[in-house]
């Protein structure tokens, strides 16, 4: 297939950041891998028509994860209504990247959906104007979400003992 080389290079160069991106959206490591797989399969299918693979695959993976999380919530709700008890499996984040990095990732995961999506894109190097274009939001809204997210993260880092109050002054 034409473009096979380009696709392969893209996967090699972007796979880790893509997976980490989906983890920041709230996914476990396995869920992130599944969402990235789904997005890459779609990307491979449409590769020759995709002009900006980084953006395209990030958005496709995010949507794949959000769809899957939505289904999980519905199934969980039905299970609970049916009287079942459900244990959420551990996501293995600490095992993969260590206690401290996992704690920070979990704090990002606990932000409201839009905020964590914008934070994840910001940490992948996208400017507010690019994020606004990708998520079809006004640029000021993106900046506002970012400001709130950062404020909340700082508060949560204090609670987690990873932010020293004295340095706030």
């Amino acid at each position: 297939m034409a473009g096979d080389d380009g696709f392969e290079k893209f996967v090699h160069a972007s796979l880790t950041r893509l997976t980490l991106h989906v983890v920041k959206l709230g996914a476990s490591v396995d869920e992130a891998k599944d969402a990235v797989s789904e997005a890459l399969a779609d990307a491979w299918h449409h590769w020759e028509t995709i002009s900006s693979p980084d953006r395209w695959v990030r958005l496709a993976a995010a949507r794949a994860y959000f769809r899957s999380a939505h289904r999980d919530r519905e199934q969980l709700s039905r299970a609970l209504q049916g009287g079942m008890t459900v244990d959420r499996a551990p996501d293995g984040l600490e095992d993969v990247c260590g206690e401290e990095a996992a704690t920070v990732l979990r704090l990002i995961q606990q932000l409201p959906r839009q905020q964590r999506h914008i934070m994840a894109l910001t940490y992948d190097g996208y400017a507010a104007s690019e994020i606004a274009q990708m998520l079809q939001l006004p640029r000021d809204t993106v900046r506002s979400h970012l400001r709130h997210a950062r404020r909340q993260l700082r508060e949560q880092l204090k609670i987690a003992g990873m932010w020293d109050d004295e340095d706030d002054a």
């Binding site: 297939m1 696709f7 392969e8 996967v11 796979l15 880790t16 950041r17 997976t19 980490l20 983890v23 490591v29 396995d30 891998k33 599944d34 990235v36 797989s37 789904e38 890459l40 399969a41 779609d42 990307a43 491979w44 299918h45 449409h46 395209w56 958005l59 496709a60 949507r63 769809r67 899957s68 939505h70 289904r71 999980d72 519905e74 199934q75 993969v96 990247c97 260590g98 401290e100 990095a101 996992a102 704690t103 920070v104 990732l105 839009q114 910001t122 940490y123 190097g125 996208y126 400017a127 507010a128 990708m134 998520l135 079809q136 970012l146 950062r150 993260l153 700082r154 880092l157 340095d167």
Partner: protein, 145 residues
């Protein structure tokens, strides 16, 4: 692509917060890099294409740049077996494996899915088909494929 720049994050605590988050980000990236096998993902992606070329087209990717709302459950109720015609390549591939006698676990492995994902997709198919057992689901699929 560059990492986040200072001008995106004004404020007195920006440097400290950036430093802390970037340290965690880099640690996570380095750890993830050791866990990921690009060849496995390439195989999964290409496998999806092989299925797609002989099955019904998918539409999900066309909306990758779409609005930020979450899609609801699929509506496949115009005919009792309408869901069979609307199967995605991956769903169809899974059902093909089950219809040929594979276990869910074997089908998941063959389709490069985790067992959890395979079970979730099969549960979703049972819901769409309106049946309660995988045996019924596969029976309907065999009759209608």
């Amino acid at each position: 692509m560059t990492k986040m720049t200072r001008d995106q994050l004004p404020g007195p605590d920006s440097d400290r917060l950036d430093a802390l988050l970037h340290t965690a980000d880099e640690a996570a990236e380095a750890a993830f890099a050791q866990q990921m096998d690009p060849q496995e993902f390439l195989a999964r992606a290409r496998h999806g294409l092989v299925n797609a070329s002989k099955l019904a087209p998918r539409h999900a990717s066309a909306s990758a740049y779409g609005q930020d709302d979450l899609p609801g459950p699929r509506q496949d109720s115009t005919e009792p077996t309408e869901w069979v015609r609307r199967l995605s390549p991956m769903e169809k591939a899974l059902l093909e494996r089950l219809a040929s006698g594979s276990t869910v676990s074997a089908a998941a492995t063959a389709e490069f899915l985790s067992l959890r994902t395979a079970n979730r997709r099969i549960a979703e198919l049972r819901r769409r088909a309106g049946v309660t057992t995988t045996r019924e689901l596969v029976g309907i699929y065999r009759a209608r494929r």
